[in-house]
Amino acid sequence: MRRKLCAPAARNLHFRFRPIACGISGAREPPRFSLNLFEDSPIRSCRCLRRYACAHNLVGCKPPRGPMSGPPARSFGRWAQPSLRHEPISAILKLSQSMNHGPIIQVQDLTRVFRTYKKKPGLIGAVRGLFHREYEQTAAVQDISFTVEEGEFVGFLGPNGAGKTTTLKMLSGLLHPSSGSASVLGYTPWERPIEYRRQFALLLGQKNQLWWDLPARESLELNGRIYGIPRPDFERRVGELTELLRVTEKLDVMVRELSLGERMKMELIAALLHQPRVLFLDEPTIGLDVVAQKTVREFLRAYNQTHRTTILLTSHYMSDIEALCKRVVIIDKGSIFFDGALEEVMERYASAKLLTFELKTGAAPVGDLSAFGKVLEHNAERIRLKVPRAEVISVCKVLLERLPVDDLAIKDISVEDVIRNIFAGRPGGDTTFQYHKPPMPELVAA
């Protein structure tokens, strides 16, 4: 309980590590730091610092035992300077990085080329393939660069095969890039240093990481041991996370008997137990029902806010991105062509909604509707319109009054459409989708 009280207070710490010798990112030489603790620091004892370290998953950072003597600032300064040098570099790096204001993820010109075997069609092609193979180079990701600050929640958008997952895999060290560089928390991901692995998590929505034939609790327990989470912390975190995700009573159910949503929540808990500083989520809500999607989404938002965990998320659901990410990076065919605030994308490219009117059978045909919006489909049974957001309600009102409507559906434009529109907005592209706020016309009967 006491730990719980200390953790939030420690977020606005007033002590800093000042690098003396060398840079932080990818440092192989042990960097030396001096510790300046200000008088008004909330950290008044070694124990408190230890708690802070624990809350931030700073393994191996052990202040000296025994009570502190003298004013806190001086005593911290005293032990820190000579003895921190002997602490594991990783602990110091972690502390210093959390204090440093540089970006937590830096990606520079990252490229990943896959070599695929091109088989000629038919049996002859198969036989020929035995002797001579033609390979094709496809760039899954091409020259992408971006930076992410600590605590940011960034959404990765793009159609299937755009390179989102490849990017996340490279950032978590599962794939080696063909060229370019990346640094996450100061580490090069594909070198897979143990210290890096302790501080991030990757959740692939399409893959199962829990033991299928055992209760989820067992898998969580295993993760607890792998990351060396102290017992009381483990219990507390499992308790909190299962409660927030409403799966407490599912802990002892075999994983194979869980619903998709429950399983995904368990996967999420398993990924968060060690309190990663960076979290990569690949389609965490894929296939979930609306309620589960909403729970996961709300949970992620709260988690990002309270823990300041940096999260990179890919999703097909616009609503996920909309609810969670202030910033979005849009990738298609391996390159980034939009990186910025979500509002900007939505205003520019998803400024319309799709209205579908199912008409009563045998109704009189309706005249031209193009004044209301872009007509996508217009026949005796159905009318589909793309209407600017601001006018959705008024258009609905008018059309519901005037048309023999049986059913009405209002939909957001899908992510894929948004991306297509971004293409359309680019020079040389199709620029027909632009609205000039037409006045509300009278409906003319045919």
Binding site: R112, F114, R115, T166, K169, S172, G173, L174, L175, H176, W190, R192, I194, R197, R198, F200, A201, L202, L204, K207, Q209, W211, D213, L214, E218, E221, L222, N223, R225, I226, Y227
Partner: protein, 266 residues
């Protein structure tokens, strides 16, 4: 250490699902065993007092012991599972966590063995009791202790061999032909079919330089008192050498495999 303990308990719980499978396998393995024993009885009925230095009781004990050693040390599902992990990308979660795949698999192997021994206990136990007149006791207490130690080595050795073969899944789509080759080598060269002493001396000697006899033949020979003194020390040395060498090879091939996995594939 706590991690590995927990993996073993999880593995045991998980493998208990296969207990009936294991029981059946252990049970039906007894049928060829019974046939082999009957064959040897027929051979000895033609009145040779000894074949290749084995009395009838020793020969029959040999096969009983091979069954016991096999049940407690041989690899059953592990190589397929490892290959599957590589192919479907499940090894990814070991690359992103501070955890070692080889150690993880070794733990699972041990838990698998524990469950197998448990499942095989009844059928094999009953069979051995039934044929107890043919099971000679170990020559002395030391032999028993050395036999048990050697058993652990033999289990680890066989695991590393299978692990190495399973690593081929990084490069080839289907590893089954390779596992069958390994299986054939093991059956012949490890003495599961017959005691290697039956072979011409030079061939038996040559085989002792390969890792295979240290899976089954060597521990059984210790029990029967066929290897003692200098030969025993030499055998142990070779067994340990193979354990270390195969471990190193497993590490190396894993590194290579990962390189192709992360650099080429994905």
């Amino acid at each position: 250490m706590k991690t590995y303990g927990h993996i073993i308990t999880m593995g045991i719980q998980n493998t208990l699902v296969y207990r009936v499978n294991f029981f059946c396998r252990a049970f039906f393995n007894l049928i060829p065993l019974f046939a082999t024993m009957a064959l040897w009885r027929a051979i000895y009925a033609g009145k040779p007092a000894e074949v290749a230095g084995y009395t009838l009781a020793q020969m029959l004990s040999y096969y009983l012991l091979v069954t016991i050693v096999e049940a407690s040390t041989s690899v059953t599902e592990d190589d397929w599972q490892i290959a599957a992990d590589i192919k479907d990308g499940a090894i990814g979660q070991f690359l992103i966590r501070p955890m070692d795949y080889l150690h993880y698999r070794l733990c699972l192997f041990f838990s698998g063995r524990a469950v197998y021994v448990l499942a095989a206990l009844v059928p094999v136990g009953v069979f051995v009791l039934w044929q107890r007149e043919f099971l000679v006791p170990p020559v002395n207490a030391t032999a028993l202790v050395v036999f048990l130690i050697s058993l652990v080595f033999s289990a680890v050795l066989q695991f590393f061999l299978s692990y190495l073969i399973a690593m081929l899944a990084f490069w080839v789509l289907e590893i089954s032909s390779f596992t069958f080759i390994l299986l054939a080598c093991e059956r012949l060269a490890s003495g599961q079919m017959f005691p290697l002493d039956i072979l011409p001396h030079w061939l038996a000697q040559a085989m002792m330089w390969t890792p295979f006899p240290y899976g089954t033949f060597f521990p059984v020979s210790i029990y029967l008192g066929k290897v003692t003194g200098v030969a025993l020390a030499q055998g142990f040395l070779l067994q340990s050498f193979w354990v270390v060498a195969l471990y190193a090879a497993a590490r190396l091939v894993w590194q290579r495999g990962l390189r192709s996995y992360t650099v080429v594939g994905g």
